[in-house]
């Protein structure tokens, strides 16, 4: 295994561009997935079974089918249905958001339900409304407990954004595959991609563990 540094140097700008897109896809997925996840988590917690059913089905579908299938469906069928043409970046962001929302909804629900019932009762007995109790008592406590599983989900999301290469969104893994195709080399592109993914996921874990420690001492 002799590394060909010259082709790596040639591909460096592409890897850089790809990395930026990977970061962009991940951030968009995290942001949209979190907002959507909170909404779906709340929907799943509705007391009325008929109202909560669609949210349950959503979660079951996205957690129970492979993300590769989801991205193919969204890229080749869903996006063209609405816009008339395919768009790899849009499909990737949509898939990452919709998929992570299902997991985040469950994290959110579990976080809220892990808070002792007595907290809500004490708040209500003091005259607070349901919304006030949620805002000042339940959510601040639930949020702290949600950080570790949310962090895991964000890391998974960064890694799964590599599936976008299969619909030709020019992110990190796409350029890795392009390099293999052009030079018939496997070690250089994939070791490079692996190392870059590692840097991204480790940076995120570092930020999250700092945040967790900050909140723990508060």
């Amino acid at each position: 295994m002799d590394i060909q540094w010259n082709i790596l140097a040639e591909y460096a700008p592409f890897f850089l561009k790809g990395t930026l897109l990977t970061i962009g896809l991940s951030l968009a997925g995290i942001a949209l997935g979190t907002v959507l996840g909170l909404f779906i988590g709340l929907g799943k917690m509705l007391k009325n079974r008929f109202l909560s059913l669609p949210f349950g089905i959503y979660i079951t579908f996205f957690r129970g089918t492979p993300m590769l299938v989801q991205i193919m469906l969204i890229h080749f069928a869903v996006v063209p249905l609405f816009t008339g043409e395919t768009n790899a970046v849009a499909a990737a962001i949509l898939t990452l958001s919709l998929n992570s929302a299902a997991y985040i909804a469950e994290i959110f629900r579990a976080g809220i339900q892990s808070i002792d019932k007595g907290q809500m009762e004490a708040s209500r007995s003091l005259g607070m409304t349901h919304v006030q109790a949620m805002r000042y008592v339940i959510l601040p406590q639930a949020f702290k407990r949600m950080i570790p599983p949310l962090g895991n989900e964000f890391i998974v999301l960064i890694k799964e954004s590599s599936l976008a290469s299969l619909v030709a969104a020019p992110e990190l893994m796409y350029w890795g595959r392009a390099m293999q195709g052009q030079y018939f080399r496997v070690w250089e592109p994939y070791i490079t991609a692996a190392l870059i993914y590692l840097v991204l996921t480790l940076s995120l874990s570092f930020v999250l563990s700092r945040l967790e420690r900050r909140l723990a001492t508060e």
Binding site: D116, G118, Q119, E121, A122, S123, R124, S125, L126, G127, M128, T129, Q132, Y136, V137, P140, Q141, K144
Partner: protein
Amino acid sequence: MIEVKSLKKSFGTNMVLKDISVTVKPQEVVVVIGPSGSGKSTFLRCINLLETITDGHVYIEGTDITDKKTDINKVRTEVGMVFQQFNLFPHKKVIENIMLAPMKVRNISAGQARKKGLELLRKVGLEEKAEAYPDSLSGGQKQRVAIARALAMEPKIMLFDEPTSALDPEMVGEVLEVMKQLAKEGMTMIVVTHEMGFAKEVGDRVIFMDEGLIVEENTPNELFDHPKELRTKAFLSKVL
């Protein structure tokens, strides 16, 4: 002050309160006793609508709280509740626990709420714990903070659900002392407790409940020393 008329409560098909009628006068201290599962907690929780009422009426100062038009949040500010498990807010300091509801529900300024909170902490003997977190307190201290927190809303009635049952024996006294003080100041109270000493000293009336019914009701001395009903006798012989 409080008038409970033919109160009934079911969980599904399980009827927990079968027909409860009680009147509590201002400044009265009513002690509720009874075996586990007899419905004591459910009774208290119906009075501030932590449980929905299946049938019957509860009037608090003339307001029917079972009426859909009644603003239940308003009613709850008049009725303080102290729980067996304290239910302090662990993410907030002691003083913040006390300040939260007055600030959010009554829109009182932080400065005023803090002043009031410190006053209440002094009253329960915990002024020096204002900046501590609940986790660092003993059970007895937690329960005293919980009482101060409920008092911060200036309720007219206080409900206590076995406030000393989760405490180590050596901490029961300090909590009962605070409650006795409250009773002497004229607070209207309904207290579920098996502390007979407390019942005799400050209770005006004792209610014995069993299987969702009031079996017997009398002054503490009469009920404890000369119970009329067989079920009361059997229960007292077990707990005394």
